[in-house]
Amino acid sequence: MATYLEFIQQNEERDGVRFSWNVWPSSRLEATRMVVPLACLLTPLKERPDLPPVQYEPVLCSRPTCKAVLNPLCQVDYRAKLWACNFCFQRNQFPPAYTGISEVNQPAELMPQFSTIEYVVQRGPQTPLIFLYVVDTCLEEDDLQALKESLQMSLSLLPPDALVGLITFGRMVQVHELSCEGISKSYVFRGTKDLTAKQIQDMLGLTKSAMPMQQPRPAQAQEHSFISSRFLQPIHKIDMTLTDLLGELQRDPWPVTQGKRPLRSTGVALSIAVGLLEGTFPNTGARIMLFTGGPPTQGPGMVVGDELKVPIRSWHDIEKDNARFMKKATKHYEILANRTAANGHCIDIYACALDQTGLLEMKCCTNLTGGHMVMGDSFNTSLFKQTFQRIFSKDFNGDFRMAFGATLEVKTSRELKIAGVIGPCVSLNVKGPCVSENELGVAGTSQWKICGLDPTTTLGIYFEVVNQHNAPIPQGGRGAIQFVTQYQHSSTQRRIRVTTIARNWADAQSQLRHIEAAFDQEAAAVLMARLGVFRAESEEGPDVLRWLDRQLIRLCQKFGQYNKEDPSSFRLSDSFSLYPQFMFHLRRSPFLQVFNNSPDESSYYRHHFARQDLTQSLIMIQPILYSYSFQGPPEPVLLDSSSILADRILLMDTFFQIVIYLGETIAQWRKAGYQDMPEYENFKHLLQAPLDDAQEILQARFPMPRYINTEHGGSQARFLLSKVNPSQTHNNLFAWGQVMK
């Protein structure tokens, strides 16, 4: 029983999958009685340095309604060169290339250790990656300068054959024509009027196929055909011009009078960007990167007017139905987001301002397409600069981590159906036998599209057990699920990652203990949390909390051991020991509590929550707290006020913030300067230890967290105090024998 933790970990390392239940209840009725649904977190492109891709096409089941990929669960007749699909039981002939296989000479995809395998396939010409910068010029001088420098720097980080384009906006929207010779030209659009895709393409001269397209050279396979347009040119040709162009960018020239906001036409700028890419490079990996320093104040998609005395909507305004522009603006961006996803492109939003910028209305742009959302105070901060640099970070092979244009297909054995997915994706509306009628998240389909993703992108996939109660356990005793992700790798290769897993069925009546022991409380907490956050987008806050509480109570009723009327007798087994804590912190978290956050902040936190892997999601739900002392190595402690002690240093990681907190005595010692005395070198090391651990987290995480270094009595200590369970307060200190002075 103790090895389930190992089992869970090994499976996550190999397949990038964590299930809420690792032994599956065999009937629909019993599954619903488990309270936590059967679901999994899937990280489709989990980094696997030990898994070299194979350079051939996957072998598919020949049944047209199945087409499952050959995998280790399939029965194989090596003599007759036949294999039986484990999903539909069709017998298939191996293709001619497999004539040499045998029990001792298996192809990789049949070996159990390759339950996850990646194929590199040749599928048509390889198109370069495309980056379209959409830049707000209504910024303060310092901010604009810092942003310009970051963009110039990014030109050195992009691969030389990537295509890049520039749109700037303020009151007007300018699409810059990039050319190495002569004067730079641009097309100017009014920021007040939205245009259809066709109008945009006409006005930019794209519909006449006036693009200069050279014929692809017939020679080497690795040369890219020189497709480009006047607005999107390869870096190796255009970097000088673009560096100069960026260097010369000025603030929006329209004067802003006292008491007014600048007129910012974000809605039209984004619309033009989407239309431009739609007309020139549909169905290939592209990022629209929107950099904005304030809310849209003009034209379609405006979120607030230009009068400063009318503030941008707060949660209070939204509750009182007092947010004038919200519905219309949200609709504008939703239409754009859906179009972008249909074209296979993604939209990033980099919003740096002291006040809100409209992330609430624009969030669908990033959430439906898999683009990034970065929120900062100014472009002239390390938080923005380094987060932006990390977009271009490379993996162990020297390739960019970003990937494009992914489609995920999920296949299940007969006893299961798919209820839906919660994550940064859209539906491809593919019906089939695996699709359940009970909808949850992005539902009604067995295929989804994720236009922008990276090795940490994680989807929550929810299943439904459909076996009837008292029906016998299926022969073989195991259910199976296959995840097939096709995508454009950053090297522009097309790849297919296939993961096939199986788990045992068990009869919940007689084998509840087995099912219980195989419960993954961490995965369950994150999957329930994603459900809760998904609900919170459309339901009232208190209703979501009530639902969450009810689920916790039902779970405890089912799996707790207790004597009636005796609360102190309540016990949960080890595999559930952390779950109630997770739920406690989840209900206080900014994902479900909007109090103390602006609508933009809530949208930002929820955006990251809905796509991170399990470890990071758990950190967001229940921050990690480690205690440093002279008594021994750093140890994890309860996220509780009782962990705050005078002679300890605490390191708290909430994912969005790293907080270092010095206890009262430590702070006094530091103030007295003991760390500078050679006899107290121990103390110097103690002070340094959490700083080093914090640095390791700061060096790797995307987005870059805020960094708070505080001490007992400091005003910033509130970040720690607001997160810990307040088991000790001034109201109950007496109860534990402490004397109040």
């Binding site: 420098e149 720097m153 050195s156 980080l157 970097d239 000088m240 560096t243 260097g247 105070d377 100014s378 002239n380 901060t381 390390s382 938080l383 600069k385 380094q386 640099q389 162990f396 949960l572 952390l578 804590q581 950190i619 990690i624 480690y626 440093y628 002279f630 008594q631 021994g632 190595p633 994890p636 402690v637 509780d640 002690l645 005078a646 002679d647 300890r648 390191l651 913030q657 009262e664 005595t665 010692w669 007295a672 050679p678 006899e679 107290y680 070198e681 121990n682 090391h685 340094q688 230890a689 640095q695 060096q699 967290p705 805020r706 960094y707 708070i708 007992h712 000790q728 534990w736 002075k741």
Partner: protein, 235 residues
């Protein structure tokens, strides 16, 4: 060359630094890591901080183990290092050290030592590269010269440029490219106006050199054939 190999290692170490963030513009702005630190695929990681503690099931909160109550005056100094206690917490790997100024006074990189090889490299490319591009690169080299001579460039930038030129002269294109990237990331304000010219120069030299290598191979094969046939014809 004024820089020796030992100097290069020192320059590289000094470029693994951490600066504080911009507290004026962003509250709690995190520290800024240099390009060298960010791109390290890094050695052994410290234990990841991902463990949690289960709450006691009997419901009572843990009694704090420290006897110090709030508001008390400091209880004397911390335990001294000599006292038998826990071993000091592992000192951080060298990469985390904020660099102290090097005690050795290195000779500053000289302008001519950097500009002359760059200008020579540009001359080498004249036949191979379009005139417009050569002019563009040349303009930027002039700008670099002006800024350097005018004292506008900091010591780390000059050091790194000397290293870049060294790599370029040794035909180490990837290394030179990486140095240009590190300068763009760490010192963009100083270098952005002219660095893209240096970047292109590296690219042009690289493509020129692979063209030359291809020509050489062809002519080497041709001479071999001639020699062979000559040998065969010799009496």
């Amino acid at each position: 060359m004024t820089c020796c190999l030992a100097g290069r290692a020192e320059v590289e170490m000094a470029e693994l630094y951490v600066k504080p963030g911009n507290k004026e513009r962003g509250w709690n702005d995190p520290p800024q890591f240099s390009y060298g630190l960010q791109t390290q695929t890094g050695g052994p990681k410290r234990t990841p901080l991902t463990k949690r503690v289960a709450a006691p099931q009997d419901g009572s909160p843990r009694v704090p183990t420290s006897e110090l109550s709030p508001g008390h005056p400091p209880v004397g100094p911390p335990p001294p290092s000599k006292a038998p206690g826990p071993p000091p917490v592992e000192s951080c790997p060298s990469s985390c050290v904020v660099p102290t100024s090097s005690p050795v006074i290195e000779p500053e990189a000289l302008l001519e030592d950097v500009l002359r090889p760059l200008e020579q490299a540009l001359k080498d490319c004249h036949g191979h590269t379009r005139k417009q591009l050569c002019d563009d690169i040349s303009r930027r080299l002039v700008l670099l010269r002006e800024q350097w001579a005018g004292g506008k460039l900091s010591v780390p930038v000059k050091k790194r440029m000397a290293l870049l030129v060294q790599e370029l002269s040794s035909r180490q294109w990837d290394a030179a490219d990486d140095i240009h990237r590190s300068l763009m990331v760490d010192h963009v304000t100083e270098v952005s106006q002219w660095m893209v010219g240096v970047k292109r120069l590296i690219a042009e030299k690289r493509s020129l050199s692979s063209e030359e290598a291809a020509k050489e191979e062809k002519s080497a094969a041709a001479t071999e054939n001639e020699t062979m046939s000559g040998l065969q014809q010799a009496p």
